[in-house]
């Protein structure tokens, strides 16, 4: 029933919010993992009490933890994620300026992976020939076991060192120009995502193929396109969508490596920079964003999967 579906979606929304709370809590607590005192850890013992006290105050570590958490969440709701210790820029500004590059990278890879995976996955699954399924699964498991930075290195070896098709340094934010810098990292991500997505899609298509309702579609003489969508792809798509949203999160995480390799001014490289300079507020702020984006992705993925196929448990 409509109501039942609505209740499920609301339940999932509540879960997304409760996970977001913990994401916030973890981002807040993480600074407390520092052995000893964060201010001293950053400035060194020789810095003197005045300087460490000032930093502690700037990091809002000078009050009790409950008050700290309160002012932290309060700040969040007003868009205040703190100030970079290194540059003095507000963390939110840093996120705003770096996130677009990362999102472009992820979205382009996702789009490419989906476009490539659908024909491959359905073909392998629908043909169902055990020899080609076997070869396909072996090939994809090899791709999946290969770390992205090694794939990137091989890509650079061929496309930047041998022929200068993919510059490893520099970036322009404008649309067609940025593709010159983005295509190789996008290709690396796409390769990995395609392996995962087409693999899952092919096994769900294989499963769908054996279902009784497919017989019904053939018998009704449903048109080709309609048959492909309603009888092959749509019933097989839900697990793929769930996985895709999860993979987008993982790929987001992997940008910390990929953006560093290709010197892209995205949020991942920003984070590595902040880690190397102990820029605590920036690390916390970016971590929080990574968490929120992942939660939003998995919520969206579940919702789309449920919209496609009511059998999905969300």
């Amino acid at each position: 029933m409509k109501n039942q579906a609505l209740r499920k979606i609301l339940g999932r929304l509540v879960r997304a919010f409760s996970v977001s709370f913990w994401v916030m809590f973890i981002s807040f607590t993480i600074i407390r993992l520092t052995p000893g005192d964060p201010a001293t850890a950053r400035l060194g013992v020789e810095a003197g009490k005045a300087a460490t006290d000032a930093l502690r105050k700037q990091l809002k570590l000078d009050v009790n933890p409950i008050q700290q958490f309160f002012s932290y969440t309060n700040g969040l709701f007003h868009g205040d994620l703190g100030i970079s210790l290194q540059t003095g820029r507000p963390v939110l500004d840093i996120v705003k300026s770096t996130l677009p590059v990362t999102l472009t990278l992820i979205l382009l890879s996702t789009a490419a992976a989906v476009i490539i995976s659908i024909p491959i996955g359905t073909y392998i699954g629908w043909s169902g020939k055990s020899s080609s399924v076997y070869a396909f699964r072996t090939l994809t498991s090899i791709i999946l076991a290969t770390p992205n930075f090694f794939i990137a290195m091989i890509g650079i070896l061929f496309f930047s060192v041998r022929v200068n098709w993919a510059p490893v340094f520099g970036y322009t934010p404008q649309f067609p120009g940025n593709l010159k810098y983005l295509w190789l990292p996008v290709a690396v991500n796409t390769l990995i995502m395609t392996a995962v997505v087409s693999r899952v899609l092919s096994s769900s298509v294989l499963e769908t193929k054996g279902e009784e309702f497919v017989e019904t579609g053939i018998i009704r003489g449903v048109g080709r396109i309609r048959f492909f969508w309603f009888y092959i792809l749509k019933p097989s798509l839900a697990p793929t969508v769930v996985l895709l949203s999860y993979m987008m999160g993982t790929m987001l995480g992997a940008t910390v490596i990929l953006e560093t390799i290709f010197t892209l001014p995205g949020i991942g490289r920003e984070m590595i920079g902040a880690v190397l300079t102990s820029d605590y507020p920036v690390v916390q702020g970016i971590l929080l964003f990574f968490g929120f984006i992942t939660v939003a992705l998995s919520f969206t993925g579940d919702l789309i999967a449920f919209w496609l196929d009511r059998r999905v448990k969300i």
Binding site: W22, P147, F149, F150, M153, V256, L287, G291
Partner: protein
């Protein structure tokens, strides 16, 4: 006679779904572990010794070539096995044990508040991509391999806990557990003797595929300069070092990379074989 039946039994085992995958994966994995022991112990060059000119291409004497500082890439590649596979081993087993225990307790506990709070903490931790949360924590812990193991222990347990919890709930509702309960066996006895063995089978199976993820994370962190630090021989950091010399020293990147892939692929063959065996198709 006995010999024959054993051979026959092996053949039968191999013929089952995924048999070849498990066999090849195991041989590949054993091979790299053995090389990781043999080459550093008995090889002619020490991994950190300067044994020739910088950036010398592969030759008969140095099959993998020499790196930018004139160290033998082959010795370094196999010396890395200790760090990559050894550290990953701890990075997997510690979360496996912690997570499985927490998950089982969560699955059998009757205290609702604990169940829901811990469960949502687990969801919260799992919300972050593993690599990101590891990188972030390293900012506070300070870089290094020891930090990486600690970080994996405090984050990765959540994935195991989720698997163990789900499984424990299923197992504890099974008939024989109910029977044991009505027979008046103590709760701890039921958990230890019946639930734990059942749950851990599944967790161990997941650990194998997690091994691949953890190797990738550790080498990735080292690649970023956050885990193993120079001059330690480690695949990720060797690749990072060789990066600048890619134009005329491809061997500095390719060989450690291939070794890393070899290890991960061998594990993934085993995982793939086992899952085929579970599904029971060929």
């Amino acid at each position: 006679m006995n010999e024959l039946t054993r051979k026959q039994r092996f053949k039968n085992w191999l013929a089952l779904p995924g048999g070849w995958g498990i066999l090849i994966g195991t041989i590949m994995f054993a091979a790299i572990v053995i090389m990781g022991i043999v080459i550093p112990l008995f090889g002619p060059f020490k991994p950190n010794a300067f044994v020739g000119d910088p950036s010398v291409a592969p030759s008969f004497k140095h099959p993998f070539g020499l790196d930018q500082l004139g160290r033998d890439v082959m010795s370094r590649t196999f010396a890395s096995v200790w760090i990559d596979i050894g550290v990953s081993f701890f990075g997997v087993t510690i979360p496996l044990i912690i997570g499985t225990i927490i998950g089982i307790l969560l699955g059998v506990t009757k205290i609702k508040i604990i169940r829901s709070v811990v469960s949502s903490i687990i969801d919260g931790i799992n919300a972050f991509p593993l690599l990101v949360v590891a990188v972030a924590m390293l900012a506070f812990f300070g870089a290094g391999l020891k930090s990486v193991i600690i970080i994996l222990s405090i984050t990765n347990w959540a994935r195991y806990a989720r698997i163990a919890r789900t499984r424990a709930v299923v197992v504890s509702q099974q008939n024989y557990i109910e029977a044991a309960r009505t027979l008046g066996y103590s709760k701890s006895r039921i958990v230890i003797k019946h639930i734990a063995p059942n749950v851990s089978a599944e967790s161990v199976a997941y650990a194998l595929s997690d091994f691949i993820i953890v190797i990738t994370v550790i080498s990735g962190l080292s690649f970023l300069g956050l885990a193993a630090r120079p001059p330690a021989a480690e695949w990720g950091s060797m690749i990072a070092d060789g990066r600048a010399y890619l134009a005329n020293g491809w061997w500095m990147v390719i060989f450690p990379g291939l070794a890393l892939c070899w290890a991960a692929i061998s594990l993934s063959f085993i995982v793939e074989g086992m899952s085929r065996r579970d599904r029971g198709n060929s």
